[in-house]
Amino acid sequence: MTARSNALPTQEMTINMGPQHPSTHGVLRVILTTDGEVVTRAVPDVGYLHRGLEKIGERVTYAQYMPFTDRLDYLAAMNCNCAWAWTVEKLAKIEVPERAEYLRVIVCELNRISSHLIAFGSYTADMGAFTPFLYAIREREQVNDLFEMICGNRLTYNYARVGGVSGDAPPGFLEKTKEFLDYFEPKLDEYNNLISYNKIFVHRLANVAVIPAEEAIAYGLTGPNLRGSGVPFDLRKDEPYSVYPKFDFRVCVGTGERGTLGDCFDRYMVRINEMRESVKIVRQAIAQIPDGPVLAKVPRVFKPPVGETYFRSECPRGETGIYLISDGSVNPFRLKIRTGSFVTMNLFEKITRGLMIADVVAVIGSFDIILPEIDR
């Protein structure tokens, strides 16, 4: 803003938002330059959670790297576990027993539900409604109970193995999962009644931070953030892996129902609808799951052949692609992980220009970023 000659001289205010801030979803730091309440520039400063996950991969064996993938996205550790397992199996061409693939899909989709629940809950909390957050936590708790049953852990599961999963589902697990799905599905309508179509909530999200489809593609957005712009791209459908082709589900896209296509509300609604689709997938998987072993025979000292591979899978926060080079030794030669959240942050500065401070919070929430994915 330029000061007129006879007016008070004004200057823009630089505010430090984060790394400790309730709405940056972790240790994201944003340097805001504001003109009053209007943000003229918001520069994300990432790296506070950098732990060298890719470098660590070069120092541990393929099996030992599994627990590190838990920390890649702690809200969707199952998806990251499986992504690593699928990558190594693709590299070494390992046949995985079918029951293991079904179990992987079940836990991945359950984890997608619990991850989207956190996205939904923390988003409403960001918007000032604290109650739905606790409802989301209540439901997530039950998913955690299920995971505790199958692998003993509630946050960092370390469940997948190269060649299968660590253990078969204990007796009663599939029934309990079904019970949870029956309980959970009506809750989605409850959320919609409570908050999704609340007038204030819609006003806060609709038409805010619109990302047109071309821009979303150009910036390489993936996952719900891309689908929110109306692009029906889902790796589970478009580049099927595991046993996903056997399931019937819909790819949820933004419709612009309350504002413009690609606004925050669309991205939010995509997640709500995806939870419903995940419920559908888990139901079908439970109905179709075959009997049999859950772990293929993999040598104890596992040395994949020399070569390189790239495998991408659909995680709750977009495409997680793992590029892996093997030199034939027990350790990977090079490991590179492409995550949805990191790519999304590229768009952050552009999309927040000219918004209000409260909208910056809305944008961070609608991207559903998670910091370990950004910093790795």
Binding site: M127, N198, H203
Partner: protein
């Protein structure tokens, strides 16, 4: 107060020797202490109820550790606030920083003075009651702005600026929405306003049911007052998820406690004004509390008033734990584009109604049809 002192001196010959000013001073101090004790008790219990209500709404238990079922939690919180280190940031403006909580607390507490708790229970029945409330609660904005500025923290400053803009904007619709009650009673005194809603009509004597405009006016008042006291969905000045905690971010210990208490005090004042101006105040339906023996009349009317006011407070808590927050531009738009014009039109409607129907309300007219 002086009249009360004279009657007291007459009634109690023991006081005969004391000078009148001393008795008056004693009475003023005594009533101030009583009101302060009530305010603090309400604010303490209110914070406990708020957390219990929040627990119920959010499918969790709420405080349950201190005392049976957690009812002593507010005492523990109070002790904690008093004992905590009082931190003043190095770069803060020390004088203003220390001054700000008092402005906020005094602004909120002073309004308790004119709250008509019962037929004879009012600390001071000022003849400008409503103006007085509007005036002293405006003091809060000074304190909030001071707190935001003196903290030397950008988040606090933003919170303070938001609060100032918000309180100033919403004061207009709040005032406009209260005027119908003043018009009907023909007086600014809150006791007169409450008395005007008595009579034989029971709850239909309330201003809420006086005519369609007053009915509407109640909701306008309640909405605007929520905003004026920074309650959700208008809690932008302390928007936790945006501004961390707004203007009071740098405060700790009892200075923070004063902001906290003032917030609950404001809540009660809003509820009390809504009760007094629209919901019949301390009037007990079909009973002339004024004609009862002093003790029983006051106890009964106090009970009725508090029941109504607490019901309003509970509704505010319910709203608080349900709705999301508006954005600052939406908040301003709502005040200047919707609430202010609506309250003006409403005021015009009430005035015309009173002019055309000679001050009679719908229930009154229906009653007169049946003799």
């Amino acid at each position: 107060m002086e009249a009360l002192a004279i009657s007291l001196v007459k009634a109690l010959p023991v006081l005969g020797g004391a000078p009148l000013w001393a008795v008056t001073l004693l009475l003023i101090t005594a009533s101030a202490v009583v009101v302060l004790v009530f305010a603090l008790t309400f604010e303490g219990v209110g914070s406990l109820v708020l957390r219990k209500v929040a627990g119920d709404i959010q499918a969790r238990i709420g405080p349950n550790r201190v005392g049976p079922r957690g009812i002593l939690q507010f005492l523990a919180d109070g002790v904690k606030l008093v004992l905590k280190e009082d931190i003043i940031p190095a770069n803060a403006d020390r004088l203003l920083f220390k001054l700000a909580p008092y402005f906020v607390f005094v602004g909120s507490f002073a309004a308790f003075v004119v709250v008509p708790f019962g037929v004879g229970l009012i600390a001071a029945d000022l003849n400008i009651g409503i103006y007085y409330v509007m005036a002293v609660t405006s003091l809060v904005v000074v304190g909030v702005l001071l707190a935001g500025w003196a903290s030397n923290n950008k988040w606090a400053l933003l919170g303070g600026m938001r609060a100032a803009a918000q309180i100033v904007s919403y004061e207009i619709p709040v005032g406009m929405a209260l005027i119908p009650a003043v018009l009907i009673a023909g007086s600014l005194s809150l006791q007169d306003i409450v008395r005007s809603q008595g009579g034989l009509l029971g709850i239909f004597g309330w201003n809420l049911f006086h005519n369609p405009f007053t009915f509407f006016s109640f909701f306008l008042y309640f909405t605007a007052a929520q905003a004026e006291t920074n309650q959700t969905p208008f809690d932008l000045p302390e928007a936790e998820s945006e501004l961390v905690s707004g203007y009071n971010v740098e405060y700790s210990g009892i200075r923070f406690g004063l902001f906290f208490l003032a917030e609950f005090g404001d809540m009660f004042i809003v509820a009390a004004l809504a009760t007094a101006c629209f919901l019949g105040g301390w009037n007990v339906p079909f009973l002339q509390v004024g004609t009862l023996p002093w003790l029983w009349g006051n106890l009964l009317s106090l009970g009725v008033f508090l029941a109504k006011a607490f019901a309003m407070v509970l509704i505010m808590m319910w709203v608080r734990w349900t709705l999301p927050r508006l954005r600052v531009d939406q908040l301003m738009r709502m005040s200047w584009k919707y609430l202010v014009p609506l309250t003006f039109v409403n005021l015009l409607g009430v005035s015309l109604w009173l002019l055309v129907f000679k001050g009679k309300g719908i229930p009154g007219m229906i009653a007169s049809l049946f003799g």
